[in-house]
Symmetry: C2
């Protein structure tokens, strides 16, 4: 049995989901992998906020360097979110020789080259399965199994909030404003839903997928992005009449060496595998030059699914650095 000491940095929803996932599956993971995954530190400024997890108070620290300088810490899971200070904190952890796992799509989309480059320089592993598609193991697939392919095209339903809203509009013929209000009341959409409904969240994730699939960088600001706030019940009814479904699609393809990409509401054929991706689910559809079409489907958000992806990355790092 090999003990892996983890520092969770940021104890919000995803941090708590990761902690709980480790509580629930610690013994099953140990039996399968021979790894004793242990949360050894929790780096968090607000220790007393009520949460759905009650770690020993002795694990908490407000000083990240207490974890970065501790030679027993193997992996830092960055779960703060946002571009800064998260990027700086990840850099620091790497420079201290820590492997880093993150769920942070914004930091990655903004600083993909910097972070992957710094990990290589520092000789540490850097994993970010949770940053695209939450619990869906698509990044690992692109980084391992699908490397036998040249990827020609990637199309994703990458945002659960907008997919939930469009699904409700389609099923009940309701208006965007009406469904958004309900989603906000139920906690499925944030009070300020801009990043979701205007496609910014999906564009961040698409930027990361472009880096992975094509080895090219397209900044979020350079991706033509249209959200769903202009989609009307009429648009949806017209699509339906043509046996189509309206989805917010993030799409990228390489054509004559150029990346063509966009995030926008689009009509897709009702028989396309992405058409059946409903409610808050996400999916990523890829075309490889020898595998052909493949699709990955699952929960794109939520503390436990996202925490599960974080733990999967932790296991991957621990296995590769045995």
């Amino acid at each position: 049995m090999k003990t892996v000491n983890i520092a969770i940095m940021g104890f919000g929803n995803i941090g708590v989901g990761t902690y709980r996932g480790l509580e629930i599956n610690h013994d099953a993971i140990a039996a399968k992998t021979g790894l004793d995954l242990k949360v050894a530190k929790i780096i968090e400024l607000d220790i007393d906020r009520p949460r759905e997890a009650n770690p020993d108070r002795a694990l908490f620290t407000t000083d990240r360097f207490e974890a970065f300088r501790d030679p027993s810490i193997d992996i830092v899971a960055e779960l703060i979110g946002g571009i800064e200070p998260a990027t700086t904190f990840m850099s620091e952890a790497m420079k201290h020789g820590k492997h880093v796992v993150t769920a942070n799509k914004a930091a990655l989309a903004a600083n993909y080259e910097r972070l992957t480059g710094e990990a290589e320089e520092a000789g540490v592993l850097f994993r970010f399965e949770a940053a695209v598609g939450g619990g869906i193991p698509v990044i690992n697939a692109i980084e391992t199994s699908l490397r036998s392919n040249q990827i020609d095209e990637v199309t994703g339903i990458l945002n659960g909030t907008t997919n939930f809203i469009l699904t409700q509009m389609t099923r009940a013929g309701r208006s965007y404003a009406d469904v958004l209000k309900e989603a906000q009341e139920k906690g499925f959409a944030e009070a300020d839903p801009t990043a979701d409904v205007e496609g910014i969240d999906a564009a961040n994730k698409l930027s990361i997928l472009i880096s992975l699939c094509f080895g090219d960088r397209v900044k979020v600001e350079e991706i033509p992005t249209i959200g769903i706030s202009g989609v009307t019940p009429d648009d949806i009814a017209q699509a339906k009449a043509e046996n189509k479904v309206v989805k917010l699609l993030a799409h990228a393809a390489k054509e004559d060496g150029e990346i063509i990409c966009s995030v926008a509401p689009a009509r897709i054929d009702a028989n396309h595998p992405l058409a059946g991706v409903s409610d808050e689910f996400n999916a990523i559809y890829l075309k490889g030059n020898i595998l052909g079409e493949t699709m990955f489907y699952g929960k794109g958000a939520g503390p436990l699914p996202t925490g599960g992806a974080i733990i999967g990355d932790i296991i991957d790092i621990a296995t590769r650095t045995k």
Copy 2:
């Protein structure tokens, strides 16, 4: 650049697909991974059969030990198929210190413990992504990302021929015998279609998934298996009337420590993600205790997709043994 010398054992459809996949993507793989993947030997009794690939005749050998005893060979790709002599040949390759990759569901379902045990004893890696779901990277996902989960349930559409037949019966209201005949004429179904249409192929794959997902062994003969030869247009019409679709489902779940499993035609809700899996496509739907539902979709057969999975495994082994 690290050269990886591969011996392809069995140069039928999948062997040729693997060879062609390596031809097409050799340079792209080298650029991404730093690996120079080289077919160094082809072990095959029938050298002169016409094929869709023309390797240098000097690569061919009819003597497998020429490859097994060659210290420059790193990986043997077993693509003969069938339980024997393939199992014996894989054992021999492992005992000679070769890593082994296979697409052989029958050998694996029959000899899973023996082969995984022998690989461990010999200190070599053993990979079999192509054995379940062809080009769909589900085995790698279960063996890596999804290890953060306890898998509660797995349901698959694991056989392309039967899914093609059921899709045609559903779309056109045609009879089983009628569609089967057309599928045979077009080469989608074999002259003796028993292994496919009676569910045996799917049961082999389910047995492998049970080993992987639950760490338990259920032999193919112990899986209650019903094929699709008894499915009538009436069954399909009745399902349709209830907004359901008839699919050949391979299902396994762990309930109170017991494995419940079967292969049988079943009605599933038209909104279920598996319902949209049509034609020759395959999909594997899993429920994990923290990730929730996830599904993997793609081409379950074909020389290039299956070859792509073989190459993915070769890259994985080469990366882990750098």
